[in-house]
Amino acid sequence: MTSAIWNRLSGVAALRAFSSAIGMLAGGFLILLLLVAFLAPWITPFDVATQNLANANAAPGWPHIMGTDEFGRDVFSRVVYGARTSLSVSATAIGISVSVGMLLGAAAGYFGGMFERIVMTVVDLTWSFPDILIALIFVAIIGPGLTSTTFAIAIAYLAQFTRLTRAQIVRLKNETFVEATINLGATPVHVVLRHLLPNALAPVIVVGMLAVGDGIVLEATLGFFGLGAQPPTPSWGAMMSSGTAQLFIAPWVIIYPGVAVAITVIAVNLFGDELVRALDIRDRVRS
């Protein structure tokens, strides 16, 4: 029974990313991080917003294993809740970006013509600016906060997924099986949704995975500038930002969230690389 389940699971190519040591380690860390984010209320020893000025800037020790910040709040609890903010903002943003980008890219690639020209011109235009600049412009327009950060990141990465999907669709639409499907009377919608997009999905998933890592950095950057999560909501970027003020008296306030960002992004990237290997799509992930 268990071996039957295992056989079925090993048929899912993406799971082969776990088969190497690096994939196992990075993937394991990410799963752990997800668990931590989900279970945050049960594993944090202190409330994230309760201030205790008498115990401000306490060095790591017991009961504050990562010390406390300038308001006496527990850094460990805030890092754990920060994971929630970072992961959810980044994943939501990239999710929006992937869905909208895939639809735009698929429509542009399949129908071509004037529509493709317009979409690709806009996309190439945004592609030529750094992601952070696009995100900053949008946050500046709609104002700071988690929702606007999410949309800003989504827009910043839209170009990437539109380009990638379009490239896949343009390559796929000349395949014989697509012609064969049209020969059998399929409508354009059926061809795009049932045949082209599923075949274009693998590289988009991997690039999306890697983009979640970049999204975390972008979210932290916006947070660092004070444009992301507003106090007292904990976010890694905002924590590092406030940590700069007491860098020399309480370095742990900036170090722990920084390390959290670094390890998470490294894990995402390593796991993404393993996914590329597992899905065997090395030559398809460049847009």
Partner: protein, 319 residues
């Protein structure tokens, strides 16, 4: 009434006209073979009938395509879509790449009957399994759940045939259905197609460049050369007394037995490209019988009648 009647069909793609003067008709239960070298316009003829020319930026320039009394030139894309896969099935050239690599083959066949016959999921599945059985696929119920990469080329071609048959078409167009397969499998597939035509009373347009396949399976044949039809007739007549020098030369290319003393004759020269079609009869530069008239005047090709040859010096007499 003819199942399919093509009359003086001409196709243009921007400024070039890669196909002209194609005429044939096909009754229910008949097989017509369309033969010719690569680039002679066989596939383009099939694409015109299927209304797929817009895909390659072409259009029907002149002539008629009549399917079961319906004039197909000028009907809307929506009406065409109902015919494609519905009443007209197409069997594509390369079974290796004609199936979606990500979907199990059963559901791919299901899609066709669900689309054209409004079958629900379980009806479609039952029909697919029955159809796979009809196509002599062993254990159709378990084959249903396989992915294309798990099957051999011959099997995949049967699946492609199943897809073409799934909506119970009246007309099948098979565009070089055996080119990508090895010789033993080729014979099986050709025999299968012949049997299907008899069992289901279909009409079949068989596009091939293999004269011996035509001789074995077809009732009628149309020979094409350089984007135009040059001879048409019943298979026995054509093979017994070809009237066009090109047809005669093609038949001369079929190997007979294992005699070592007779060398097969080839046809000198190559098919001209679409931009360099010669004036007059397009075969004249390679023809042993060519005279001055062949360089200037395009020989006529009868649009009606069962026998026609586009040659100023047609051999034998018209019947």
């Amino acid at each position: 009434m003819s199942m399919l009647r093509v009359e003086d069909l001409g196709v243009s793609i921007s400024t070039i006209s890669p196909l002209s003067g194609v005429s044939f008709d096909l009754e229910r239960g008949e097989i017509i073979g369309i033969v010719g070298e690569s680039g002679s316009g066989k596939s383009l003829t099939a694409m015109s009938v299927m209304g797929l020319l817009p895909l390659i930026g072409g259009q029907v320039d002149h002539g008629k395509i009549e399917f079961d009394g319906i004039e197909l030139t000028g009907i809307s894309e929506n009406e065409y879509r109902k015919l494609r896969g519905g009443r007209i099935g197409l069997i594509t050239q390369n079974p290796m790449t004609s199936l979606d690599p990500l979907k199990k083959i059963g559901p791919q066949v299901d899609d066709v009957s669900r689309l054209h016959l409004d079958h629900d999921k379980s009806q479609a599945k039952a029909r697919t399994i029955e159809l796979l059985g009809d196509l002599r696929i062993p254990e159709p119920a378990s084959i249903y759940h396989l992915y294309p990469h798990q099957m051999s080329g011959g099997m995949k071609q049967r699946i492609v045939i199943a897809m073409a048959l799934a909506a119970d078409p009246d007309l099948l167009i098979a565009d070089e259905p055996t080119t990508a397969l090895d010789v033993t499998v080729q014979a099986q597939i050709i025999r299968l197609l012949g049997d299907l035509v008899k069992q289901r009373n279909l009409s079949l347009v068989l596009i091939t460049h293999d004269m011996s396949v035509v001789a074995q399976t077809c009732d009628k044949v149309m020979v094409m050369y350089a984007g135009t039809a040059i001879e048409r007739g019943r298979v026995q007549d054509i093979f017994k007394s070809p009237r066009h020098p090109y047809t005669k030369a093609l038949i001369g290319c079929i190997p007979h037995g294992l005699s070592k003393t007779v060398r097969l004759k080839g046809i000198e020269g190559t098919v001209p490209g679409v931009a360099q079609y010669p004036a007059g009869c397009r075969f004249h530069p390679r023809c042993g019988l060519a005279e001055d008239i062949c360089k200037e005047t395009v020989p006529a090709f009868d649009t009606a009648g069962s026998r026609a040859a586009a040659c100023h010096f047609a051999l034998g007499t018209a019947q």
